[in-house]
Symmetry: C2
Subunit: 151 residues, 2 copies
DNA sequence: ATAATTTACATCGAATCGATAGGAATTATG
DNA sequence: CATAATTCCTATCGATTCGATGTAAATTAT
């Protein structure tokens, strides 16, 4: 029940690309230095973000990365799916384990609870967009004030 | 962002203790057979549950486990804390990493988002009690119906 | 005394995770 | 065309976690 470094780094990179917009694309090297993140590792993540279509990349001399989508369109749910995989913590009935609910109704109860968790998380993640987060970042004066986006 | 097997096993064990109440305590061996769970591993978990005060144990010949608290009192949040540890996915300012928000406001934005996640999860976990889950299990006729507890 | 049980501790194998490294492909620039 | 800068692909490493097993000691009703 923790977020991975991948998720955090992806988020920081995307926020940087959004909040510090530039004419030319920003290279992975520069990005890693600005954010104090390990270069190679960050590029792995950027590659994943690219495959998911959240980021475009330009190769070669003045190459680098930039957002591929409007920042209102990018939600943390998108980022999550790229870095953490799918959001299905329980398999009831399908999957390699077979039908586990056949054994006991308690399994099914747990399963429906997991579904609830999943839905709640999904909605919460979808409610946060890059755009909102960036605005919140600009409004940062008080260290730990507003919850930033409570719908 | 997945629940561990520990959490699931603990939940199944607690549900069994609650839903199939008995005069004498239920041994770890029996529990593991009824639930088709690995014996040793389950006992590890039961030990943890005992340390947390959710379960009582009786040693010796007719020993075994039983609930230590009223099932209305046991929430999934309690179980979560035993099996998954604490629920703090981000450390902003404190901890060994030092103050990360000093570097960039984006960090603080992420941090407040993490807080939101944490609160939401906490509330959701607290809203589920053993008692509710057990009732839902009894009402199981339709395979995948009611969300069981949406407060 | 014996059998059944919890309890403590040690370890194991596999998987995951964060991170690093080398090198190939691509591209602007001179 | 050559070069430097960059993305991209793949392999690997070390550490940690996770699920699980094993051994042996302490406890207790019979």
């Amino acid at each position: 029940m923790k977020f991975s470094a991948r998720f955090e780094y992806a988020l920081l990179a995307l926020l940087y690309l959004k909040c510090e917009p530039d004419e030319s694309p920003i290279s992975g090297r520069v990005l890693s230095e600005k954010l104090s993140l390990p270069y190679r590792f960050l590029e792995q993540i950027l590659t994943d973000l690219k495959k998911a279509g959240l980021v475009r990349s330009v190769r070669g001399y003045h190459g680098g990365y930039r957002l591929a989508v409007e920042p209102e369109e990018i939600s943390l749910y998108d980022v999550f799916r790229v870095t953490e995989g799918k959001l299905e913590p329980y398999n009831c009935g399908e999957g390699e384990n077979g039908d586990r609910c056949g054994q006991s109704h308690n399994m099914c109860v747990i399963s429906s609870f997991y579904d609830d968790i999943k839905d709640t998380m999904t909605n919460l993640l979808k409610s946060y967009t890059l755009d909102k987060l960036c605005q919140a970042s600009r409004n940062m004066g008080a260290p730990k004030a507003a919850p930033a986006a409570n719908v």
